[in-house]
C-alpha cells in the first residue's frame, strides 16, 4: 500500500487507498466507504406506505427531494395511479431547485477550495469574496423557495404519493419572489468560474456516460436512459447490475460489465438539443465540449445546468396553477419502478407492494453507488498518466471531489 487519505469536504465518510498492483507494479486507487449502514432497504418495509417517501427523503440531506420523488413515482406505478399535470410540474420544479442548490453548494463550498488552492469555504470567502457572497445568497434563497414549496428547508413535508398534500398559492408567489434574481446570480457565478478554467486538470476517461435523455424537453424526472447519446432503455431497471464488495459499505455498479459515469456532465452530454440556449452558450464559456469525458469538469457542468434548471423553475412558478391534493389513492399489490435524475445522477428504485399496500421488497440504486467504480478507474488512469506528480494523492482527492460524491446516499 502506498497511501491512505481521508476524504474531506464531501458528504459522508470515506477514504482513498492507493495500492500497488503486485502483478503489473502500477498504482491503483480504491475508494473505501466506511459510512455506517442505516438499512433503509430493510426498514422501509416497516413504514406505512404514504409516509414512505417522507422517510426515504431522510436518506440524504443534500438531495432529499430526489428520494421523495423517486419513491413516490415507483409507488404510483405499482398502484397504477397517474398524477396530474400540475402536480407533475411542481414535483419537477422542486427536484430542480433541490438539484440547483446541491450543485451550487458543491461547486462553491466543497470543490472551489481545491481549484483556488485553499483549505476551506471560509478561505474562499477571503480569496474570492464576491463569488462567495453570490453563491451563499443563492443557496439561502433556494432554501427559502424549497421551504415555501415543500414546507421543509431540507426534507419536503407535503410531497408524497399522488403529488402534494397542500401547496398554498401564496407560497408559490413567495418562492418565485425568492428566486427572481437567481438566474442572473447563477450567470455571475459562471463568469467567475470562467476565470479559473486554466486550473482544471486534463483527463479523458473513455467509459460510457449515462443519464435520462430527451430530445425536446430537458427533464430530471421523465425520459428514457441514454448511453453515450444513444437511447438504451426505457428505465434503468434491467440495465444496471449492482454488487456488494467487501471493502466498502457502498456497493458497486456496472452496465454491460463496464464502469460508467452519471451526473450533470452526463446529462448535458445526453441532452444537447433540450437545454436552453442560454445554458448552451455557457457550455462554451466554461469550455465544455460535446461529449466531454473529463470528470474534472463535472462541477462546471453543474454550474451550467443550474442556469437551465432555474430558468425552467421560473416558468413553472409563473405559468402553472398550484397542484390540488391528490384524489383518494387505493392500495393494492403490485410491482413498481422509477428512474429519475438526482443531483449526482441516475437514481433508480424498484419495489413490490403487498395486497395491503405495504412495501414487501425494495431496491434503491443511488447515483454515487454507480459512480464509485468510474472514480476508481479514472483515479487509476490519472496515476498512470502522472506518475511523477509531486502531489498525486492530493490530486486524486481533487478528482474524486469533482464527482460530488454523496457517501451517505451511496450506502443508505
Amino acid at each position: 500500500m502506498i497511501s491512505v487519505k481521508g476524504l474531506d469536504r464531501i458528504e459522508g465518510h470515506a477514504h482513498i487507498k492507493i495500492v500497488e498492483n503486485p502483478e503489473t507494479g502500477s498504482e491503483e486507487c480504491r475508494i473505501i466507504v466506511d459510512e455506517g449502514i442505516r438499512f433503509f432497504e430493510a426498514f422501509l418495509t416497516e413504514v406505512p406506505l404514504m409516509e414512505a417517501p417522507v422517510i426515504a427523503s431522510r436518506i440524504c440531506g443534500l438531495c432529499s427531494a430526489s428520494y421523495s420523488v423517486c419513491l413516490s413515482k415507483a409507488i404510483e406505478k405499482a398502484l397504477g395511479y397517474t398524477i396530474d399535470y400540475e402536480a407533475e410540474s411542481y414535483r419537477e420544479a422542486v427536484q430542480m431547485i433541490s438539484t440547483a442548490r446541491s450543485h451550487i453548494a458543491h461547486v462553491f463550498l466543497l470543490w472551489l477550495p481545491d481549484i483556488l488552492g485553499v483549505k476551506s469555504a471560509f478561505d474562499v470567502a477571503e480569496v474570492s469574496p464576491e463569488a462567495f457572497k453570490v453563491a451563499a445568497n443563492l443557496i439561502v434563497e433556494m432554501t427559502k423557495a424549497h421551504e415555501y414549496l415543500t414546507g421543509g428547508e431540507i426534507h419536503p413535508v407535503n410531497m408524497t404519493v399522488g403529488g402534494f398534500t397542500k401547496l398554498p398559492r401564496e407560497n408559490v408567489a413567495k418562492a418565485a419572489e425568492s428566486l427572481k434574481n437567481s438566474v442572473k446570480q447563477a450567470e455571475i457565478l459562471i463568469e467567475k468560474l470562467s476565470e479559473i478554467l486554466y486550473k482544471i486538470p486534463k483527463l479523458e476517461i473513455k467509459l460510457p456516460y449515462v443519464s435520462i435523455g430527451n430530445e425536446e424537453k430537458y427533464s430530471l424526472i421523465n425520459g428514457p436512459i441514454k448511453i453515450d447519446g444513444v437511447k438504451a432503455a426505457e428505465t434503468a431497471k434491467d440495465l444496471i447490475e449492482e454488487r456488494p464488495v467487501s471493502y466498502s459499505t457502498a456497493k458497486r455498479c456496472t452496465i454491460n460489465g463496464s464502469a460508467y459515469v452519471v451526473g450533470a456532465l452526463s446529462r448535458l452530454n445526453n441532452n444537447p438539443n433540450s437545454i436552453s440556449s442560454e445554458a448552451k452558450s455557457h457550455l462554451e464559456t466554461l469550455d465544455i465540449k460535446e461529449g466531454d469525458r473529463n470528470p474534472f469538469k463535472i462541477p462546471l457542468a453543474q454550474a451550467v445546468e443550474t442556469v437551465h434548471l432555474l430558468q425552467h423553475v421560473k416558468t413553472v412558478l409563473e405559468e402553472v396553477e398550484p397542484p390540488r391534493p391528490p384524489e383518494e389513492i387505493k392500495l393494492k399489490a403490485g410491482e413498481g419502478e422509477a428512474t429519475i435524475e438526482a443531483p449526482r445522477g441516475i437514481l433508480h428504485i424498484n419495489l413490490t407492494l403487498s395486497e395491503k399496500g405495504r412495501i414487501k421488497e425494495i431496491n434503491i440504486i443511488p447515483p454515487t453507488t454507480q459512480n464509485l467504480l468510474h472514480m476508481e478507474y479514472s483515479a487509476t488512469k490519472y496515476l498512470a498518466e502522472n506518475p511523477n506528480h509531486p502531489q498525486k494523492a492530493k490530486m486524486i482527492e481533487v478528482l474524486i471531489r469533482s464527482y460530488d460524491p454523496c457517501i451517505s446516499c451511496s450506502v443508505q
Partner: protein, 253 residues
C-alpha cells in the same frame, strides 16, 4: 484609536460539528444558522462539510447522527474529550430517530436483506444507538431536522449562558395557534397531542400528520390520546405502526 484592555476582549466561542451516521441535513441547517450568528465572538473550529472537520478543541460540540459504526463511537468520544459542552443535534442524535427502525431486525437479518452473501467488512454496532444513550449530553436540539431558526436560537441561548428551556407543549398547541385543520378530527392519525412541539406544527400546516420526530412531550396523556383515536375511528394498531417511525424508544410497541 483607543486600545481595548486585553482583559475586556471577550474570548471567541469555538464551535465544532461532529457528523456520525446520518443524512447530514442537520449540518446543512446548522451551516446556515452559524453563518447568521457569525460575529467576531464565534469561531467555527471544525465542520466536516466545510473544512474537512478534523476534531479540534472547542467550547461547544454539535453532534449530529446516531452511533452505528465503531468509528461513530470513536468520533463521539473525541467530541466529549475535546469540548466543554456537548449538544445532541437532531433526532438521530437525540433518540436515534428513524434510524432506530433498523433495530426491529437483528443486524444479521438486515445484512442478509441488503447485501446477501458478500458482507462489507466495516465494523458496526449491533444496534443504532442515540448519542444521548452513550455520551454525557448537555443540551438536545430536537427535530428531523431542527430548523435553521431553532438552531440559531438554541445556540444563542447556550452561548450567552442563559441555558435552554425545553419546549414542553405538544405540537397541537402551535397547530391551534396557526388555525390549521385538525387532522385527527378528519379521521387521520396524527401524533400531535402527545408529541413535543416547538416545530411550529409545520407538518399539519402542510396537510401531513405529525409522526413525532421530536419525541414524546413530558407527561404525555397517552390514555386520553388513545380514547380520542377511538372517537375518530382510528385503530390503536395504526397508532402502534406510526409510533415505530420516531417513537420506538419511547412507546412500547
Amino acid at each position: 484609536m483607543m486600545e481595548t484592555h486585553p482583559h475586556l476582549v471577550p474570548k471567541k466561542v469555538k464551535i465544532a460539528l461532529y457528523t456520525l451516521t446520518c443524512c447530514e441535513g442537520c449540518a446543512l441547517n446548522a451551516a446556515i444558522a452559524l453563518a447568521r450568528l457569525s460575529s467576531p465572538y464565534i469561531k467555527v473550529e471544525s465542520f466536516r462539510l466545510i473544512d474537512g472537520g478534523k476534531p479540534a478543541e472547542a467550547d461547544i460540540a454539535l453532534v449530529e447522527g446516531a452511533v452505528i459504526t465503531l468509528m461513530d463511537k470513536e468520533l463521539l468520544r473525541q467530541a466529549e474529550n475535546n469540548s466543554k459542552v456537548v449538544v445532541a443535534l437532531g433526532s438521530c442524535s437525540h433518540n436515534a430517530g428513524l434510524l432506530a427502525l433498523k433495530n426491529r431486525f437483528t443486524h444479521e437479518e438486515a445484512l442478509e436483506t441488503v447485501y446477501g452473501e458478500t458482507r462489507p467488512m466495516i465494523p458496526h454496532l449491533s444496534k443504532a444507538t442515540p448519542v444521548t444513550s452513550i455520551a454525557k449530553v448537555d443540551y438536545v436540539i430536537p427535530g428531523c431536522p431542527p430548523s435553521t431558526d431553532e438552531i440559531e436560537s438554541y445556540l444563542t441561548s447556550i452561548i450567552l449562558g442563559k441555558g435552554v428551556e425545553e419546549y414542553e407543549k405538544p405540537v397541537c398547541w402551535e397547530c391551534r395557534l396557526k388555525d390549521s385543520d385538525c387532522l385527527l378530527k378528519q379521521g387521520i392519525l396524527c401524533l400531535g397531542p402527545i408529541v413535543k412541539g416547538g416545530c411550529k406544527a409545520r407538518c399539519p400546516e402542510y396537510g401531513k400528520p405529525c409522526f413525532g420526530c421530536r419525541g414524546l412531550v413530558k407527561d404525555a396523556k397517552m390514555e386520553e390520546f388513545l380514547e380520542s383515536l377511538k372517537e375518530n375511528n382510528i385503530s390503536e394498531k395504526e397508532f402502534r405502526e406510526a409510533a415505530k417511525l420516531y417513537l420506538s424508544m419511547e412507546v412500547s410497541l
